[in-house]
Subunit: 202 residues, 2 copies
Amino acid sequence: MGTKERKEREKLEMQQKILDAARELFMKDGYENVSIRKIAEKIEYSPGTIYLYYKSKGQIFFVLCFLAFDAFYAEQIKADDITDPLEKLKESGKIYIRFAVENPEYFELMFLMKAPLEDYYDEITSDVSHKSFDYLKENIQECINAGYFKGYDLMTATISTWAFVHGLASLYIKDRLKKMSGKELDDFIENALDLYLESAKK
Amino acid sequence: MGTKERKEREKLEMQQKILDAARELFMKDGYENVSIRKIAEKIEYSPGTIYLYYKSKGQIFFVLCFLAFDAFYAEQIKADDITDPLEKLKESGKIYIRFAVENPEYFELMFLMKAPLEDYYDEITSDVSHKSFDYLKENIQECINAGYFKGYDLMTATISTWAFVHGLASLYIKDRLKKMSGKELDDFIENALDLYLESAKK
DNA sequence: TTGTAACTATGAACGGTGTTCAGTAATTTA
DNA sequence: TAAATTACTGAACACCGTTCATAGTTACAA
């Protein structure tokens, strides 16, 4: 009889249900403002039930983060159909910033948080986060091959570009560029990216 | 009689005492892990007393943040004696990164934390944080006057440069550049800064 | 010196949090 | 159908930031 299989399936469904509810709430209200009780209420179970499927609130968030790295990478490779390496890099940067803006909580977890994740961080994320870094590195290598980034070695150019885009993204989502807003900022980022990468042309 | 003056002084002393205790605890354990009760315990008063001097935990944090900006600005202007605008900008960048590395908690407070500042942020910090931003902006203007940053307008060049340096600093203090270590990284940052700013020469 | 007004400090209490666990209800197995 | 396993509950625990009635202390005029 398939009881065991059904139970397995039901367990996964429940885990998914919790994940979905948690994601929605985290995105809407931020990690700190979402309680286990609220997640439980959303899926119409008691708070204790959550702990039968995840061992802590942090773990729920972490699993979502892991999925976020996947989603991030999936976004990144959408630049793949651009053949010109510099244009591809430009698009990559826009994707990076767009991801940060649309998923600030995930972005924080992936690139900004230090503290409580250290326990899990290395073991799980390293694979999936290195994928994105390597993707960028390959793109930069293509640029170098095409004559851009003269004077930079591969690693310096990669990290510099990452730092530039990352800096824009973090200043923005942390409201340090608040004088701008919406469309105005989109234009600015577009412009800043253009100029940074154009200046790599030489 | 100087009763009123003495009371005033005692009030300031108490505020300072709270600030010192809070700073020490925040630096050691992070904002979220420090409770009003712990601050109160450290200064050997009851929790309620804190609220006679500061209206919330967030406000205590905010005042510390304000002081950090002052300390940061004091570091920044040490680049003033350099006359060549590009060299000055380079030094400024190094100071920024050095400040981040040597005071990661303050740096986090000033540029990375989002948390409780929103309410007060504008009114008070704007002055002191704008001072640093304006300092950078003036430096960039000098560079533009000297023929650098061709194609950039002032604001774009300022924010771009900030983003680049800020990105390097945050990736570093958040251990995202962990493949490097110590001297190796110092050299890298030196090199990356050089290259970024050289490419502004044209 | 005394009485009162003003100030300072207290700590219990409120409504919230993440998490645990004894107990109950439902389901599966025999 | 009875026993055993599983799923779930929700009260309880130890925290949190914050408030406020109360108590203690100090200042100063009478």
